[in-house]
């Protein structure tokens, strides 16, 4: 015997349909971003980039609606399970990127990496995880839960955008050897250092957020599981990310290390952050490890 929930069915159907539409917009936007990067190698024309950004705005509006619907369904902030966290992560990425790029309306290369990551997160969410709204588990009923998840993902989103800027800087600078200028990619030459400086500022913005994420996670673990640190794989990976960005910030205080070492350490932090968020479940299964975060 089973009981059918009509309202929940309607909301969930609507939510998943919007999700598929949003994924479609992200994919189109990503393809247009890539096309713009390709066009910029040959011509100075930013049509594809502008279209890509407009689609991205549309996608974020749809995604915001999705999160609101989920919040109404759940009655709680929708960051409870992996499906919801991945959706929240994708939204944070894109929103942060769109906020940062307001100054340079013709620059779209960082958008390639941001949209790719958002697509990967949403693909993983809809492909693998159960989207049903479930009651909150006892361990998640904590005042720390909301702030820990919200702020930790905020940190990840900021780092994603920062590292996308860094990657773009490295790629465009590399293409400079092929006689392409910054203007060809939509960035005025005078603004190059300001643009590159955004990576540092974004890491500076995100580092305290990640610190809070780790601290609040430890405080929550102390209340719920009995110890503030269990050397859980997810905890260690977040510590690795914190360490990597700590190295980056220290390297940026040494003038001679700012360029090469700075870039390398920033991208190392980016890689560890991706593994923390998306790969920890994979790692725990691959090595047969137990993790309290494997949800």
């Amino acid at each position: 015997m089973e009981q059918v929930f009509t309202t929940e069915s309607t909301l969930l159907t609507l939510e998943l349909r919007i999700l598929y539409a949003v994924i479609g917009l992200y994919v189109l936007s990503c393809l247009l971003h890539i096309s713009q990067a390709g066009v910029s190698v040959f011509f100075r024309n930013f049509f594809f980039g502008k279209m890509a950004t407009n689609l991205l705005y549309l996608a974020v509006i749809g995604h915001t609606l999705l999160i609101i619907i989920r919040w109404i369904e759940q009655g709680q902030p929708p960051v409870q399970n992996k499906y919801e966290c991945l959706s929240w992560f994708a939204w944070c990425n894109t929103f942060t990127y769109l906020y940062i790029r307001r100054r340079w309306s013709e620059l779209s290369m960082p958008g390639i990496f941001v949209t790719m990551l958002s697509i990967a997160a949403l693909f993983l969410a809809i492909n693998k995880y159960d989207p049903t709204v479930t009651p909150i588990a006892p361990a998640l009923q904590s005042p720390w839960y909301f702030w820990h998840v919200l702020i930790a993902f905020g940190a990840y989103a900021v780092f994603v955008v920062g590292c996308s800027v860094e990657l773009s800087y490295v790629i465009i600078k590399g293409l400079g050897y092929a006689k392409k200028s910054w203007e060809d990619f939509g960035l005025p030459s005078l603004d190059v250092q300001t643009f590159h400086g955004i990576t540092y500022k974004l890491v500076l913005l995100g580092f305290p957020l990640l610190t809070f994420g780790i601290i609040s996670g430890a405080a929550w673990a102390d209340d719920a599981w009995g110890r503030y640190w269990s050397w859980d794989p997810f905890e260690i990976l977040s510590l690795i990310t914190w360490t990597a960005f700590g190295m980056y910030l220290h390297a940026m205080s040494i003038p001679k290390w700012r360029e090469t070492w700075g870039s390398t350490l920033c991208l190392l932090g980016f890689a560890s952050m991706l593994i923390t968020f998306m790969g920890s479940g994979f790692l725990t299964k691959l090595f047969g490890l137990y993790s309290m975060h494997a949800y």
């Binding site: 598929y20 809809i126 050397w231």
Partner: protein
């Protein structure tokens, strides 16, 4: 000679490059601990050959309690402490009034240099008006050099960025000390308590690293004063219905897409007997010297702190007595039962009882039930049948003390009793971490997100007008030296 060596070592240990290198080494340890099962056994390791030799030789399964990691942490602590000391010395030095010269200012990378038609006095007034208008405060300073009319140092910002930096470095030191105290002196145990069977707990234990390393394990005696008992008066569990999407594919982008857009949409259902625990709590009685001292509730995220120990609601366990045709059936290993006259094994799926909260807001008390899964025995190998082709498992539900018919036997459950599983821990490092953590976070937040600015300038006399040299130094995410410089320039050339 010795002092030269010490100075050299001091220079290396307090170098930022050393900090970065130590971070890198720590990261390697974290990676190892992430890949290998920390605290596990070597039987779990699949690696062979040289890799296995390294893992076993360096005892990488206990990497975080091994000498290599602890040495690295020690070096990191030394680096951090000496760097913090060096920072404090520098802060004392910068509190002395700055001495400004045109040469020193010109050496900065982004210095503003302007030839202006105003008198030196007018130029200085304009600069000071600009800075005062942006809430800069004047700091003690002096000027040196011929031709300098005036100069000054102004600072904007509530707290000097160096104090914030010092605060969070000190808090990391405290956090490391707290973690070391945890490492040496903490212990943790687990107890299962059933009603009317209190369990004895000791506020101290031989099972700490400190006690083990100093050989106190065997001689460790717990006095009666340090013991008390914990009993269970009541256990309560609440459930909610567990919804699922009917017929939704377990995974797959395309199958799920087809389901979402087809057949009129998705249907969310809750199946009978599929419940989701949303809260479980225990009412405990603390006994001191055999007499009840306290009664209180404990649940997940609401631990009990008592006599230096913290008790956590970890899990729960139900037990019951199974009767078949009025004969008690003993539980076998692995939670299995064999009923007389029936081949095959019965396995319990656990007891479900408590309060169920429905979606419409109503609630009802669940009469205790047990689901027994029957697995028939594997048949003897026949020529035309593949091996392992035993019958499908069957599930039988037993409710309350009502007898149910299971393959001709009258089977019932009685004496359902709930046990609470608590973990308890003694960790003297936690209070220090509670001091360090907020300081670390807030100091770091204000340092990174706040804005602190220092403006230094000198005005030199010129035959017709004056020359301004100005330098801005900004810290924090919202710092923007270029913008401020542009605005200063604009304010100086306006009304020319």
């Amino acid at each position: 000679m010795v002092s030269n060596i010490l100075d050299y070592l001091y220079g290396i240990i307090t170098s930022t490059k050393t900090t970065i290198a130590l971070f890198g080494v720590l990261m390697l340890f974290f990676l190892v601990g992430n890949v290998l099962p920390y605290g596990g056994s070597y039987e779990q390791i699949k690696a062979t050959g040289f890799a296995r030799t390294i893992i076993e030789g360096l005892d990488l399964l206990n990497v975080y309690s091994g000498p290599w990691f602890l040495t690295t942490v020690g070096l990191f602590f030394l680096n951090l402490t000496l760097c913090t000391y060096k920072r404090m010395k520098w802060m004392v030095r910068i509190r002395r009034p700055a001495e400004l010269t045109a040469t020193a200012l010109s050496c900065h990378k982004d210095v503003l240099e302007m030839e202006l038609p105003y008198s030196p006095e007018e130029t200085a007034n304009r600069v000071e008006a600009f800075l005062h208008g942006r809430l800069f405060l004047k700091k003690p300073s002096s000027t040196r050099g011929e031709g300098i009319y005036s100069g000054g140092v102004y600072e904007q910002g509530f707290i000097h960025h160096m104090w914030l930096s010092l605060a969070y470095h000190v808090s990391v030191i405290l956090a490391v000390i707290g973690a070391v105290i945890t490492f040496l002196y903490s212990f943790e145990k687990e107890i299962t308590i059933f009603p009317d069977k209190p369990v004895e707990v000791a506020a101290v234990s031989a099972d700490t690293r400190w006690n083990r390393w100093y050989g106190k394990g065997e001689d460790f005696i717990v006095s009666e004063d340090e013991k008390f008992q914990v009993g269970l008066k009541e256990f309560a569990i609440k459930y909610a219905q567990k919804p699922s999407i009917k017929g939704f594919p377990r995974k797959g982008l395309i199958p799920r897409f087809k389901d979402t857009w087809g057949r009129g949409g998705l249907t969310v259902v809750a199946e009978e007997d599929k419940y989701y625990p949303i809260e479980y709590a225990s009412k405990l009685i603390i006994y001191e010297n055999g007499a009840p001292a306290q009664e209180l509730w404990i649940k997940v995220n609401t631990p009990l702190r008592y006599r230096g120990l913290t008790f956590y609601q970890s899990a729960y366990e139900y037990k019951f007595d199974l009767y078949a045709d009025d004969k008690k059936i003993e539980e076998e290993e692995g939670g299995k039962y064999t009923l007389p006259g029936i081949d095959g094994k019965f396995e319990s799926g656990g007891v479900t009882t408590g309060k169920l909260y429905l979606k419409d807001g109503s609630e009802y008390v669940i009469e205790p039930f047990v689901k027994l899964t029957y697995t028939p025995p594997e048949p003897e190998q026949e020529a035309d049948k593949p091996s392992g082709s035993q019958g499908m498992p069957e599930v039988f539900k037993l409710i309350g003390s009502k007898a149910g018919d299971i393959k001709g036997s009258k089977v019932r459950i009685e004496n359902v009793r709930a046990g609470t599983i608590l973990s308890y821990r003694h960790d003297p490092g936690v209070p220090l971490l509670w001091i360090a953590a907020p300081v670390l976070f807030f100091a770091m937040l204000f340092r990174a997100w706040g804005r602190w600015c220092r403006a230094s300038y000198v005005v030199e006399k010129r035959p017709r007008g004056s020359r301004l040299l100005a330098h801005l130094q900004m810290f924090g995410v919202w710092g923007g030296e270029r913008n401020m410089m542009e605005r200063l320039k604009d304010s100086l050339v306006s009304n020319v």
